[in-house]
């Protein structure tokens, strides 16, 4: 609608609360981080301008470099293993096999449990002495593979990221809803042309559900970049910093009163997030958020 004179005040009144909150919690924090990232500051004393020093410090820190690497692996696994799994599940369920609604409900179930509770649960699964995983290996006669999953250099990081890759419910439901909105006629036409189900999925369903799939890839990759709770609970970054991630790094820097390096790390995270978003949008599609 065009704005009428008598609506002007109302529009301002209605927009103001959201704008104030957005400014305080989204715009101001980023400006603040940019400024602090060039300062040396403990959080108590007066900040001192130090130029690029904080950035040099973190980029010379092997732990930070490893956390970037871990986050990138995490984001790629999320976008290109977890989401494709979700798409396959959505495709299968879109043919409404027996019990599809039950599958849909159950797949989404882990999403309503908090990351902290799930991580604590998985700590019990991975536990070396009485955990579910080692117990399972003993039962199926692979007892020699038992290990301290979260405490061993080789297995720690894979253990931390693999378990949630199969929790696909959220993305599956978004994609499934999109698929179910595709008009039946397209498939009838394809049927007449003799295209089989797999052919139909590849040539009709996937292209038409592209927007929701790209949205899921974006959400999943950002999720991979901002991981914190899982690592914090399962390993706190150890053993030997093998499982560290950027948010854990900046959290620990903050706890050590190095507000400057923590802010620099936060800015690197935001920059990487922006690059990832722009890359996905430019290569896969812009019609999302």
């Amino acid at each position: 609608m065009d704005v009428k004179r008598e609506d002007r005040v109302g529009i301002v009144v209605f927009l103001t609360p959201a704008l104030v909150l957005f400014t305080l919690f989204f715009i101001f924090p980023i400006i603040y981080l940019i400024i602090i990232s060039f300062m040396q500051w403990t959080g108590f004393d007066t900040p001192v301008f130090v130029g690029w020093k904080n950035y040099l410090t973190i980029f010379n820190d092997k732990v930070f470099l490893r956390s970037i690497r871990n986050n990138l692996i995490w984001a790629l696994c999320a976008g290109f293993i977890q989401v494709p799994l979700a798409v396959v599940a959505a495709l299968v369920l879109s043919y409404r096999p027996l019990g599809w609604k039950i599958f849909r409900t159950v797949y989404f179930f882990p999403k309503v449990i908090s990351a902290i509770a799930l991580a604590t649960l998985w700590a019990a699964v991975y536990n070396a002495q009485y955990g579910l995983l080692n117990g399972l290996l003993r039962v199926i006669g692979l007892g020699h593979l038992q290990t301290n999953w979260l405490g061993t250099l080789k297995t720690a990081f894979p253990s931390v990221i693999i378990y949630w890759l199969f929790y696909i419910g959220y993305y599956m439901i978004i994609v499934l809803a999109d698929i179910q909105g595709i008009p039946e006629e397209y498939y009838e036409a394809a049927e007449i042309d003799g295209a089989g189900r797999i052919r139909q999925s590849l040539c009709i369903t996937l292209p038409l559900a592209k927007t929701s799939i790209v949205t899921c890839i974006l959400l999943a990759m950002i999720d991979g970049l901002r991981q914190f709770a899982e690592v914090y609970i399962l390993t706190n970054g150890g053993p030997a910093n093998r499982t560290t991630v950027m948010v854990l790094y900046l959290y620990k820097a903050m706890q050590n009163y190095s507000y400057g390096t923590s802010s620099a790390a936060a800015m690197v995270l935001i920059a990487i997030g922006t690059v990832v978003i722009l890359t996905i949008k430019n290569t896969l599609g812009r019609e999302t958020f």
Binding site: M1, D2, E6, V9, G10, I11, F14, L15, A18, L21, F22, F25, F26, P29, Y32, I36, V88, A89, V92, P97, F103, R104, T105, V106, F108, F109, K111, V112, I113, S114, A115, T120, L121, W122, A124, Y130, L132, G135, V139, F166, Y167, I173, I174, T211, S212, I222, R226, F228, V247, Y251, M254, S262, S263, A266, M267, L269, I270, G273, T288, F289
Partner: protein, 281 residues
């Protein structure tokens, strides 16, 4: 109808399909079920065989869990914080969504893009600014601080979801109301808001789940048991229970029960909200 002959390929595909579906099914529920069973065993039984059923169902694990963890208080805090933050968030987001989705004015498009881009900002990176902001407002270690933060961080996604629903309310309805002399506020509260109920409920459900499950800022912005939420409680279980694993498992089960109950009750609402396409962009 012609009876379909099953080719070996089709059989294999069917087998693969069901293996896939059932694997994901088991994966989603089995660990939780295992934990629930383990929480009813003795520590000795758990060590001896992680898969056995308990000889005697140890319900006192739950009594102990309630006593040691102080979880009842944490739950109450979570309910208060999540309810308040959801109510405020949905109200503020609906108001913004109304102006943005239904009026053409200068800057409208810019604001829409700005709000939507907020959805993809990795919020965990903003710990220092939020900590400084909440401290300087004198809200550190208060439920008010958490409510403010949670209300704010959900604004982009809630506005985005509700905008989609409000845009689909026919303009003619509102024009008719204008002719009847309804003012801006009356049209919002008696017409557009009620007609976008589905979107408001969807946004509200997600906002509530986000608040209930939030950990990073609950951890950063509180320091005393009196204002802590459930998620923080879980983090301290490992210290509180030390090697009494079964009681700790009981505490974890207690802490996720409300989420499970809410999901069972509202699953249609949650799934319908997601399926309405609100999130697909």
């Amino acid at each position: 109808m012609k009876k379909r002959r099953l080719s070996p390929g089709a059989v294999l595909l069917g087998l693969g399909k069901w293996t896939f579906l059932i694997f994901l099914f088991v994966y989603a529920v089995f660990p939780v079920l295992w934990l629930a069973v383990a929480s009813l065993k003795t520590n000795g039984e758990l060590m001896a065989n992680p898969f056995s059923l308990p000889q005697v169902w140890q319900f006192q694990n739950y009594k102990k869990a309630l006593a040691v963890s102080g979880i009842a208080r944490l739950m109450l805090n979570s309910v208060l914080v999540s309810t308040a933050a959801t109510f405020l968030n949905v109200l503020i987001a609906s108001m913004a969504a109304y102006t943005l989705s239904r009026f053409r004015f200068r800057g409208n498009q810019v604001l829409k893009v700005m709000f939507s881009s907020g959805i993809l900002i990795p919020l965990n990176a903003l710990m220092i600014p939020y900590f400084v902001l909440i401290n300087s407002l004198g809200l550190y270690n208060t439920m008010g601080g958490l409510i403010l933060v949670y209300t704010a961080i959900g604004i982009p996604i809630s506005t985005f979801i509700i905008m989609g629903f409000m845009a689909s309310v026919p303009e003619e309805l509102e024009e008719a109301a204008i002719i009847d002399g309804a003012c801006f506020y009356k049209r919002f509260f008696t017409l557009v808001f009620p007609l976008s109920r589905a979107g408001v409920v969807t946004a509200g459900t997600f906002q509530f789940l986000t608040c209930w499950n939030e950990f990073v800022y609950a951890n950063l912005l509180t320091s005393s048991q009196a204002v802590r939420t459930v998620q923080l409680g879980i983090r301290y279980f490992t210290n509180q229970f030390a090697t009494d694993y079964v009681s700790m498992y009981a505490a974890i089960i207690i802490s996720i029960l409300p989420s499970i109950a809410a999901y069972v009750l509202f699953q249609n609402q949650i799934i319908a909200g997601l399926t309405s396409g609100a999130l697909k962009g």
